[in-house]
Amino acid sequence: MSNTSTINSQGPLLTNDGVPLKESLRKSLRRTKIRSFLLILVPLLFVLLLFVTPIAQLLSRSVDDIKINEAFPLTFAQYEVWEDKSILPSEEMFAAVINDIRITHKIENSEGRNIGKNLLGRSGTRMTYEYSGWRSLLLKTVKEAIKVDKKSKEEIKPYKWDAPYKERMIKRDKRWGKVEFWQSLGAMKDPYTMGYYLNAVDLRYDANKNIIQKVEYLRVYKTIWMRTLQVSLMVTIFCLILAYPVSYLLATLPMRISNILMICVLMPFWTSLLVRIVAWMIMLQQHGVINDTLVTILPCFEGMVNLPFFGATNIDLCFGDEDRIPMMYNFTGTIIVMTQILLPFMILPIYSVMRGIPPSYMKAAQNLGATPTWAFIRVYMPQSVPGIGAGCILVFIVAIGYYITPELVGGKDGLMIGNFVAREMQQTLNWGLAAAMGTMLLFAVLALYWVYDKFIGIDNLKMG
């Protein structure tokens, strides 16, 4: 044998040329490495552009509070020196607000177009998240503060309003005299804020930046989060219960029959989501197929009966119009429809794992004396766990961010967090809050992934 392969107790292994073996191995691998890196370069860029960038955007937007700090630098500087925050601030702070407005109002972008007015408007919106009323108060004040004295003969015409401002402002709008407005500035004074996250779980900052609960009637999100978890869990469990036997049949029936069954499983994938939801609406409504059928076919019996153990009993078996079961536009509707829609996501991974379990295991177990049931529990089921894990994770992850189904069939008590993200995006335009909620969803999913890895092991995950 040459010295390339013998283990030399003195020093590192050398090749025939005297180069350390490791180094020569590294060199020989470098070219393959570079080539494979070039191969993945395009997909890598694609992922960066379309996946990492939006997530980074999402993260930054959920904590971003720079704009308002650009608009009101003097005010926030004064806030720092405001000592007793339980009483109204001094004249300097009122003056700072007016000065900030007057400076910001004139900000122009590089092309010379005014962006200050827009910035003030958006600041008003931002301030309203902390204390409602800020926007109208600010816009009203802006209008007054920038009025100039047209009659003045000077080159630069002076403003109509001049110091002292405190009295004037309170006279113009009584809200300037409410200390709560001033206190709420504390939550905005840093360029980065956790405010959106707090908002998403019904918390807020007080004047001293302590975290406190929101007032009772504003607490909405916590219930929504809980309901989102509840719906996702229930849908996952129902999917599992329904999918397991179906997958077992798919995996064990003769090819000819299982193919037909497979087509039935995949059929929903080939149908538009909306069509399926509408179909469910037709089925589940107050006057839908199911309720109508129940009303028509259930026997109507009412009257006294002599039962063996209970004696004479009044029995009312009528299923009338007033007994129609509400299955749509509520929690039940969301659960039913989501379970149906997500079922294939559970069936496919379980099926693919089950198909890989050779039938000889069940035979061996029975041959060794186990009843078919016991063989199934002890031998078959444990081997299908990777599929169950994958299916559950998949369904749960898809369910937790679901939007369209609850929107259409969820009514009021079937809405999930996804619907509120959409609402913040489209209606209230509070993108910061929407971003915070989205980020929380993302981290919930990552946490789930981590827990799974910890307890079952991600290598055991088989997606199909």
Binding site: P358, S360, K363, A364, Q366, N367, G369, T371, Q383
Partner: protein, 362 residues
């Protein structure tokens, strides 16, 4: 072997999967206690099917299988108490070796301490003492095979079935395992039904071999008889190496027949299953029973042959002759001093005794 009741009895068993083709046609076999019976046959001849019917995983289409005198057609697999080694071992991958071995004891509700005792004992028996905590995947093929055998024995079954248990192993390991299984059989007094399509394995291990073809047992006897006195051309051809000359029966004279080969040579042979003059016959000759340049008058059948090819095999030399119109006539010549003079292209005499030449069906 004492004349006791057979452990297993197949009575006119037939099996069809699709209602069109009989995979097993009229299968009869008695296995006595302590016997090692091998089912040998080409692929697709129905060996696994027979085992599966015996183990209870395939219903018998027609006929009866008796286990210790009782018909078992309607007994579910888990109540048959038959040990089985599957072709791919079927060790449960999610359990350790010890858990695999304890499984049959567990379902029989045997206490924990006794269970551990037995597992330890059987692991030692198959020489895997320290491997109890490993997963099957962490064992080599031979070790897995031993675990599979141990698992099929741990609940003391009356009968053990092995379906090509050594199929996945390399030649050396295979030979070693053959001995180990053989020793287990002898030491524990097991009754074994073994399936293989390796004829050497069948010959070395079994008390009796049932040669399968086309769903029928062609012959079932001891290895010696199978080799020395095959009952038909299929068996002669399937077991061991064999030269075949085709011809027509010219005369029958008690045990002996005279056959005229297709090339016109007259051969005297032993009558096995040819019936009347004019029948087609296959003459079967073992390559090691041929004499090269026999002394005159020693062999009644002597013919001139041309040496076509010599292949050196160490202990013997395989020689290909053309003789009696057959150019693929193999003779194994022992590598001894007198036999080194053969050269390719030379013409020599070869001959054989009538008792070594069997006249079988054509």
């Amino acid at each position: 072997m004492p004349e006791t009741e057979p452990v297993v009895q197949f009575e006119n068993v037939q099996k069809s999967y699709d209602g069109e083709i009989l995979v097993v046609k009229d299968f009869n076999l008695d296995v006595a206690a302590g016997e090692f019976v091998t089912m040998l046959g080409p692929s697709g001849s129905g060996k696994t099917t027979c085992l599966m019917m015996l183990a209870g995983f395939e219903p018998v289409t027609n006929g009866n299988i008796n286990l210790k005198g009782k018909p078992i057609n309607n007994v579910p697999p888990h109540k048959r108490g038959i040990g089985m080694v599957f072709q791919n071992y079927a060790l449960f991958p999610h359990m350790t070796v010890a858990e695999n071995l304890a499984f049959p004891l567990e379902v029989r509700k045997i206490g924990k301490s006794e269970r551990e005792e037995k597992v330890k004992q059987i692991l030692d028996m198959v020489q895997l003492g320290g491997f109890g905590n490993r997963r099957p995947m962490q064992l080599s093929g031979g070790q897995q095979q031993r675990v599979a055998v141990a698992r099929s024995l741990i609940f003391d079954p009356d009968l053990v079935l092995m379906d090509e248990p050594l199929g996945a192993l390399d030649k050396n390991l295979r030979e070693q395992m053959q001995y180990e299984i053989k020793h287990l059989h002898e030491n524990l007094g097991l009754t074994v039904i073994y399936v293989t399509h390796d004829q050497t394995e069948a010959l070395t291990m079994s008390n009796r071999i049932a040669v399968f073809d086309d769903g029928i047992v062609q012959q079932c006897s001891t290895p010696e008889i199978l080799y020395e006195r095959p009952e038909n051309a299929f068996v002669a051809n399937f077991i061991g190496e064999n030269n075949r000359l085709m011809g027509t029966v010219e005369a029958i004279n008690g045990d002996q027949v005279t056959v005229k080969t297709d090339s016109g040579d007259i051969v005297v042979a032993t009558k096995i299953n040819v019936n009347s003059v004019g029948d087609r016959a296959t003459l079967s000759l073992r390559p090691e029973r041929i004499f090269v340049s026999p002394t005159k008058g020693r062999t009644p059948n002597t013919y001139s042959a041309k040496v076509e090819e010599l292949i050196y095999h160490g202990d013997h030399i395989r020689t290909r002759f053309s003789v009696c119109g057959h150019d693929d006539f193999i003779v194994k010549i022992p590598n001894s001093i007198d036999n080194v003079s053969l050269q390719e292209g030379k013409q020599v005499n070869i001959g054989w005794m009538p008792e070594d030449c069997l006249a079988l069906d054509g």
